[in-house]
């Protein structure tokens, strides 16, 4: 008899499982305990007639009470589960809802906006300028020397003598400095052009974002601080950032900024060309000749400038293997960055 009571106690503990059971588990429990053929409780009840009356009474009472409790708990749980699926009358709530077409911004626009927004928090507002520029604004005011090899990297499209499609948004630096007084704090997004045919990593037209900060007392430390903060905000708070020497005619000293490869974490992979670092932007202290060319006193004012390519950054960040995907406007691609088509 003790044995039977102990078994009933064991079964009583199973009661606790019922309110958590899902549909399938509930069915299992029912079969295990109350199953007509081999349910644990059924077996006990089946064994009752063979017991002496005293025992039969005490065990039978407990067993039947437990059976009622179990049945009630299982039924309650069944109703709960039914409510969760929500079937009311003949409505099947798992059928799809009615959709609308979804719109969205292009990935490059999103990246440009995100970058500009980070700089806006640092007090840099957006400035823009024309895409067709003079040689003076695109090159010579920016301290490019005539016939200098630095021009080789700037192979450009011309529309007339002395009028070209800008090769960077730097001419807007010139325009801004000529039109405004320091302090100047701007970012300059816009389309730029280089005479490179389309391939997996080049396009003749692409987006650029430059930045310019000019004021009294601006130093290389401000450059490093501003751009490091940008990198940590844009990538991750613990992103490792590295600056190393570079060359641009319009900045001196010049520095390229890289971040730890976001794909491999620095171990080396195809994305970072095994270096562990991804080059993100070029920067430098504004060359005094540029300030002078724009009518700013280069003794009193100093500044820094930087430039980056949102197409490239989008490719690095989202693992996009071919820049042409950003121009094809395949709706399946666009929808991936708009949360879907519907």
């Amino acid at each position: 008899m003790r044995d039977l009571l102990a078994r009933l106690d064991g079964l009583r503990e199973r009661l606790g499982e019922i309110p958590q059971a899902d549909e399938r588990r509930l069915q299992e429990l029912r079969t295990e305990i109350l199953g007509r053929k081999a349910g644990a409780l059924t077996e006990i009840l089946k064994a009752l007639p063979a017991l002496d009356p005293e025992t039969r009474k005490s065990v039978g009472g407990t067993a039947n009470a437990l059976k009622r409790e179990l049945e009630a708990a299982i039924e309650a749980r069944e109703q709960e589960l039914a409510r969760a699926t929500g079937v009311v009358g003949d409505v099947d709530p798992t059928m799809p809802g009615r959709a609308q077409w979804r719109g969205g911004l292009h990935l490059v626009t999103q990246v440009v906006d995100e970058i500009c927004e980070i700089f806006r928090e640092l007090g840099l507002t957006r400035a823009v300028g024309p895409e067709v520029e003079t040689e003076r604004n695109n090159f010579y005011a920016l301290n490019f020397a005539k016939d200098h090899p630095a021009l080789d990297a700037q192979d450009s499209f011309y529309v007339a003598d002395n009028l070209l499609l800008r090769t960077h948004t730097s001419p807007v630096q010139v325009r801004t400095m000529e039109a405004s007084k320091p302090p100047i704090r701007v970012v300059i997004p816009g389309q730029v052009y280089r005479r490179d045919p389309f391939d997996a990593s080049h396009a003749p037209v692409f987006e650029q974002i430059e930045g310019l900060v000019v004021d009294e007392g601006i130093s290389f430390v401000d450059l490093k601080a501003t751009l490091s903060l940008f990198a940590r905000r844009f990538f991750a708070a613990d992103t490792a950032v590295r600056f190393h020497p570079s060359f641009f005619p319009f900045t001196e000293p010049s520095a390229d900024m890289s971040v730890r490869c976001t794909v491999c974490g620095g171990r080396g992979c195809a994305t970072c060309k095994q270096s562990g670092w991804m080059e993100i932007l070029g920067s430098g202290m504004v060359h005094p000749a540029v300030l002078e060319n724009c009518g700013i006193d280069s003794e009193r004012y100093t500044g820094f400038a930087f430039g980056m390519g949102p197409h490239r950054i989008a490719m690095l960040r989202y693992g996009i293997p071919d820049i042409r995907l950003l121009y094809e406007s395949d709706v399946r691609f666009l929808a991936q960055f708009a949360g879907g088509v519907q």
């Binding site: 059928m95 009615r98 609308q100 719109g103 969205g104 911004l105 292009h106 626009t109 007090g123 507002t125 957006r126 400035a127 823009v128 024309p130 895409e131 067709v132 016939d147 200098h148 630095a150 499209f157 529309v159 007339a160 801004t176 007084k181 302090p183 704090r185 701007v186 997004p189 052009y193 045919p197 396009a203 003749p204 037209v205 900060v213 007392g217 130093s219 290389f220 430390v221 601080a225 501003t226 950032v241 590295r242 600056f243 190393h244 020497p245 060359f247 005619p249 001196e252 000293p253 520095a255 390229d256 202290m285 000749a289 406007s329 395949d330 709706v331 399946r332 666009l334 929808a335 088509v341």
Partner: protein
């Protein structure tokens, strides 16, 4: 620039770790793009000693050698075809199973009936040169069985350094070694040339006569007519050389730096180029008419067949090195095939020149011909270092090819220059860099790469070495201080700043607003190239396009978007709604083209995603979808403009306050597959203006009165006319007007249609009486009937 680690080690007199070099160069000098270990494919090759050489029993030209390759099984038999194999000597040996450069895997095999257990190798078989005439005899004391790479100083790394246009000094091993010494310690010393004897006489370049424009050395007359093009020009004559393949060390050096070994004289000049960044040009004295060397501007249409076998036409703004009759070298770019050093050359004219950078650049571009020399001249070489370079070149040539210099070389330098001095204010360093530098640290950093620093009052007078043509102003020295210190040394803590004076550009705000509205209306943003085929007669053409397909600036966005729809059709997408915001270009005679921000949209396919409750297919978008999207686009892009029926072409136009057409919408013609829906599109100029601010109107508390009017509208009368009459009659009390339905059919008189309007009347301040509403309806019906012949439908 490809650098050999071993070459740099020779210059620094110490060993270098490739990774360490990569770190230091990237941090302080210029980024390393990659490191390639050389000769790693020789890992299976061993040092072996030949113990015994016998004739091959079945072949006259083969020998059978007993070779000790250190293997546990003792010496092995190897068949060898080389004539120079000797017992007791040491050779590189590829055992059975070894893989040689080029992927050849050695197997045990029978050669003329005798088994050969490996191969004794020639230099060519190991990729170490062109000599295939015999096996490579080694001067090595290493034990047999030692790995070839471990026994001989042949393992090397090629370091690819990105060199920017401002640092020509990094285009040679000495320049990079100098930077490494500055960071890692040590001094740079030119390695001794194996086999060089002291110069035959004290070699002091002499100033030429004629104001440094002409002179004679060893029977060769040299005249510099074009002093501007060749400000310093040196010539040496070396007689009695023997042109032959270079000794292994020299061939190995130039090969490790990425140059193909050619012969001892050419390799020697390349060695000087790669070590000191001084282009040297050796040419054959026997081919020189005169013999004279005349440096002058080329004559118009003068011709020369360059080394690459191509005939080039010169022009008067190029410098030519000529003999008594005609050009033999395109100065600083390439020599002629005729005057090239050949196997029969015995007497050399050796040129060591400084050519003006912009002249070389223009020549190179005009001829479409560049060379290692032109690349360096364009960037600027060390004019002050030329005598040392020439001296070393002569030493090297005599060491590897023999010959003598009988008379001092000529140094024609019409206007001698001295090292430039630039002043540096230490406090300016601190201001620009934001970090306090001790004066002594500035001096130490600058001296470490060859600047000579002397205090001058409060400033430092810094003498710039000849190899740094980029350093001309104070700020250039500040950059040197920053990079030598290392950018990592600077803190990156953000400091307070003053807000800028430039407000956000209104255009950016307008464009962002338009994009947002279009996305909200269910359109995906496209970004297409602004270069394409001409999309109208007044498209702005590029002067130097990559192709005619991308030869014009767009003057509308819509054609580009239609091409994108066609693209989407090719990938079987049917439901497409795209918009683009971008610049379009309109020509202006004599001026830069006008740049206008524009918005375009295209729509095709299902009006909305299908839903199972509707069963049947969702209808495709039609002109009524177009009209509404166009209205919304106009509202976003050109606030204040009206949408009207188009006069000629298109379906609707947008007209601004000045009655200027600023947009249009219509069905589009496209290359569509059969299953595609109709294509609709619109384009609107974006007005860069603030969006009008909506005004607040008090929310009404009175209930509306709704009246539906079924009207019979004769042909020729349009909805707009009806609407005007209804609004006139209703005035301010007519709150809303909607078209509920249009009906055409047999129950109506001929040439009419039925249109049902819903009029919603409301007075915000009081309840309207039925009689007032009836009055308005009556007035409206009277006007409609009287003016338009529109009647209320009966029955």
């Amino acid at each position: 620039m490809i650098l050999s680690r071993r070459w740099l080690e020779a210059l620094l007199g110490r060993s270098l770790d490739a990774r360490e070099m990569e770190r230091v160069l990237t941090a302080h000098v210029s980024p390393v793009e990659g490191v390639t270990p050389l000769h790693q494919d020789l890992g299976d090759v061993l040092i072996a000693r030949v113990l015994e050489v016998k004739k091959h029993p079945n072949a006259d030209r083969l020998s059978l050698c007993l070779v000790d390759a250190g293997g546990t099984g003792g010496p092995v038999e190897v068949v060898c075809g080389a004539p120079n194999v000797q017992a007791g000597k040491v050779y590189p040996f590829a055992p059975v199973g070894a893989v040689l450069p080029g992927g050849l895997k050695l197997e045990r095999r029978k050669i003329r009936g005798t088994e050969s257990n490996g191969m004794l190798c020639s230099a060519k078989e190991l990729g170490l040169g062109t000599d295939a005439g015999g096996i490579l005899e080694l001067d090595s004391t290493a034990a047999s069985g030692t790995r070839f790479l471990d026994a001989l100083p042949i393992a090397d790394d090629q370091i690819a350094l990105e060199v920017y246009a401002n640092r020509p000094d990094l285009l040679c091993h000495r320049g990079v070694a100098r930077e490494l010494a500055a960071s890692l310690g040590g001094t740079v010393k030119l390695p001794a040339i194996p086999g060089a004897t002291p110069p035959p006489f004290a070699l002091a370049p002499v100033r030429g006569a004629g104001g440094g424009r002409e002179g004679v050395t060893d029977g060769v007359r040299v005249v510099v007519e074009d002093v501007e093009g060749a400000p310093r020009y040196m010539i040496a004559v070396i007689r009695g050389v023997r042109v032959a393949p270079s000794p292994a060390w020299l061939a190995d050096r130039v090969a490790a730096a990425g140059q193909r070994p050619i012969n001892n004289v050419v390799d020697a000049t390349n060695y000087i180029l790669l070590e000191l960044n001084q282009p040297m040009h050796a040419f054959d004295l026997a081919k020189l008419r005169g013999p004279a060397v005349v440096v002058r501007r080329a004559k118009p249409n003068e011709r020369i067949v360059t080394l690459d076998g191509v005939e080039r036409t010169l022009s008067a703004d190029m410098t030519a090195i000529c003999d008594a009759e005609r050009p033999t070298i395109v100065a600083g770019v390439m020599g002629s095939a005729e005057s090239e050093v050949s196997a029969t050359t015995t007497d050399l004219v050796l040129e060591c020149a400084y050519f003006q950078a912009t002249r070389i650049r223009r020549t190179r571009r005009a001829l479409g011909l560049s060379s290692e020399s032109s690349y360096r001249y364009e960037r600027g070489i060390d004019m002050l270092g030329m005598p040392d370079a020439l001296r070393r070149a002569i030493d090297l040539i005599i060491a590897v090819a023999g010959g003598t210099v009988r008379e001092p070389p000529l140094d024609l330098w019409a206007e001698p220059q001295q090292a430039r001095s630039v002043f540096l204010r230490p406090e300016r360093v601190d201001r620009v860099l934001g970090l306090a530098f001790a004066r002594s640290e500035i001096e130490q950093l600058l001296s470490s790469v060859g600047f000579v620093v002397a205090p001058k009052d409060e400033r430092l007078a810094v003498q710039v070495p000849g190899w740094r043509p980029d350093v001309t102003r104070e700020v250039d020295l500040i950059e040197e201080v920053a990079r030598l210190k290392g950018y990592e040394a600077f803190p990156d803590e953000l400091r307070p700043y003053r807000p800028g004076t430039v407000p956000t550009a209104p255009a950016e705000l307008a464009l962002a607003r338009v994009r947002e509205r279009m996305a909200r209306a269910g359109f995906l943003e496209a970004r297409t190239s602004s270069l394409g085929p001409a999309d109208g007669p007044d498209a702005v053409a590029l002067r130097n396009p990559l192709s005619t397909e991308e030869g014009y600036l767009r003057n509308r966005l819509l054609p580009g978007l239609v091409r994108r729809v066609e693209y989407n059709w090719t990938v079987r997408e049917r439901d497409i709604r795209l918009f683009e915001v971008g610049t379009v270009f309109k020509p202006r005679p004599g001026q830069a083209p006008e740049e206008l921000p524009s918005l375009a949209g295209v729509l095709t396919g299902a009006r909305r995603p299908g839903h199972w409750t509707e069963g049947a297919k969702v209808p495709d978008m039609d002109i009524w979808d177009l009209k509404r999207h166009f209205e919304l686009a106009v509202e976003a892009a050109a606030p204040g403009a009206r949408v009207v029926s188009a006069i000629g072409g298109g379906v609707w136009s947008a007209i601004d306050e000045h009655d200027r057409v600023v947009g249009s919408a219509s069905t589009q013609v496209a290359d569509a597959p059969k299953w595609a829906g109709g294509l609709l599109g619109f384009e609107v100029e974006i007005a860069v203006a603030e969006a009008p601010r909506p005004a607040y109107a008090r929310l009404p508390t009175q209930p509306p009165t709704v009246q539906d009017l079924s009207l019979v509208v004769p042909a020729g009368v349009v909805a707009k006319q009806v609407e005007t009459r209804l609004r006139d009659a209703g005035g301010a009390l007519l709150e809303r007007l909607e078209v509920l339905d249009e009906y055409r059919g047999p129950n109506l008189p001929a040439n009419t249609r039925g249109v049902t309007w819903r009029c919603v009347f409301r007075d915000p301040s009081r309840t309207l009486r039925d009689s007032e509403v009836d009055d308005m309806i009556r007035r409206a019906l009277a006007a409609l009937e009287g003016e338009l012949g529109v009647r209320r439908r009966t029955g």
